[in-house]
């Protein structure tokens, strides 16, 4: 699953845009990933400028 380190997140939305299956939802100060529908392509992990997201097998 994808772990969101919320304390580090800047809520910029870049991960939302590269998600091929649209399972990331961004609120003003909250990022929510639907882990059930996530395909673990890791685009979001790779694109994050400040490394907020982590993949945990």
């Amino acid at each position: 699953m994808i772990i969101v380190k919320t304390d580090l997140c800047d809520f910029c939305g870049i991960c939302v845009s590269v998600c091929p299956v649209d399972v990331i939802e961004l609120f003003e100060a909250r990022l929510v990933i639907d882990q059930q529908k996530c395909t673990a392509c890791l685009n979001c992990v790779k694109v994050c400028p400040i490394r907020v997201l982590e993949f945990d097998k």
């Binding site: 910029c12 845009s17 694109v47």
Partner: protein, 390 residues
């Protein structure tokens, strides 16, 4: 917030506020929704804009301008500085004031502006978009409209909900981080761009001064490169090396779609503008001017479509067609140049800087710089000429 408007605009950045203002000016009842608590912040932008471009869309107010730029300098990997010979000057904006004012101007045209309003879905009736679902201060609302304008930035979920392909490939996403730093000393009239695969692979690093002691220092690199090393790390290394005494006042992350021209920006009852429609120049990542021009067209077409009671894709395509005419070939040109430029090696860049430095100052033009850099790509010469001489 009422239950019914002609048009709802999702996102109050420059694109959204402009589309809302122009639609209202043309007679529509417009609701402008912003998910954040305050319009204009956080500023996810280097804030540089050309004078000609800005004056084309709006008469600049003094309070929007933080600094005037007289020249652009390109810095090669080996440190060679090329001062670009150019007649156009530029500005470093105060985007907070700029965005705030654009929303205020929309308000003055009768647009209803609501902040802390999160749009989480579209409403469909008989297969047609008839509104948006909004979460505002803990309450859920269903707002009925004729047209939804998606100005929801890089996330661009509004478009996706309606079946438009707004997601961006990793290679076409510039992943950015910027620090606003003080306790530095700069020449305030120069914008500096660093090109180097050590500093910003598949992109560039910018130093945009707000005054002698304050600057936006940021970088954007392609998503493919970011996979190997975080943009934040590249930026920290640069600032520690060049400006070890810098006080970091702000750090912001962000993304810019530097993607191919998006042909399909409308569907039945829905229009996309700004970053949501990938309207930034893929070569430079700059998007303020194009977004505002596109949004002016979109606002007008949307208001007319409401009046005619025809919000079909066919009717709204007038916006797509005008936008194609306005920016289609220029965008495609910029994309081709981006593809070539960001593959240049550090040796190519050093060679270019050395060759250009030997020319007299008035020959150190952007056209000559690109021609020299892309000497292996003679097919791109017409693109270079058209791109920069228009």
């Amino acid at each position: 917030m009422k239950e019914y408007y002609n048009i709802v605009v999702v996102g109050a950045g420059p694109a959204g506020s402009t589309a809302a203002r122009i639609a209202a000016q043309n007679g529509a009842k417009v609701l402008l929704l912003e998910k954040d608590r305050e319009i204009g912040i956080p500023v996810r932008c280097g804030e540089a804009v050309g004078e000609t471009g800005l004056k084309r869309i709006l008469e600049p107010k003094p309070e929007w301008i933080a600094n005037k730029i007289e020249a652009v300098r390109l810095i090669a990997p080996d440190g060679t500085i090329v001062k670009v010979y150019h007649e156009d000057i530029g500005f470093i904006l105060d985007r907070k004031r700029f965005d705030y004012d654009l929303a205020m101007m929309a308000g003055l045209q009768g647009v209803k502006v609501v902040t802390k309003a999160y749009v989480y879905g579209l409403i469909y009736e008989n297969g047609a978009i008839t509104g948006v679902k909004v979460l505002h201060l803990g309450n859920h609302f269903q707002i009925k409209v004729k047209i939804v304008i998606g100005a929801d930035g890089v996330e661009s979920r509004v478009g996706r909900w309606a079946g438009l392909k707004t997601n961006v490939r990793l290679k076409d996403m510039e992943t950015c981080v910027q620090m606003t730093v003080s306790n530095i000393k700069l020449e305030r009239s120069y914008c500096d761009f660093y090109f180097s695969n050590q500093i910003a692979p598949g992109g560039y690093l910018w130093v945009f001064p707000k005054n002698e002691h304050l600057a936006n220092i940021g970088l954007g690199i392609s998503g493919e490169h970011a996979a190997h090393k975080a943009p934040l790390l590249y930026l920290k290394e640069f600032i520690e090396k060049r400006f070890p005494e810098a006080a970091v006042l702000t750090t912001v992350a962000g993304g810019v779609p530097c993607a191919p021209f998006m042909d399909k920006v409308v569907t039945n009852g829905l229009i996309l503008v700004g970053d949501a429609a990938h309207q930034a120049n893929p070569l430079t990542g700059g998007g303020i001017i194009q977004s505002i021009i596109a949004s002016e067209i979109a606002g007008k077409v949307a208001a007319e479509a409401v009046k005619e009671n025809d919000v079909s894709e066919d009717r709204l395509s007038e916006y797509a067609k005008e936008w194609e005419k306005e920016n289609g070939s220029s965008h495609r040109r910029a994309y081709r140049l981006k593809e070539a430029v960001y593959k240049l090696t550090d040796d190519d860049l050093n060679r270019t800087a050395a060759a250009i430095s030997k020319k007299p100052p008035e020959k150190q033009t952007i056209v000559n710089i690109f021609k020299t850099a892309l000497i292996q790509h003679p097919k791109l010469i017409p693109d270079i000429i058209k791109m920069f001489l228009n």
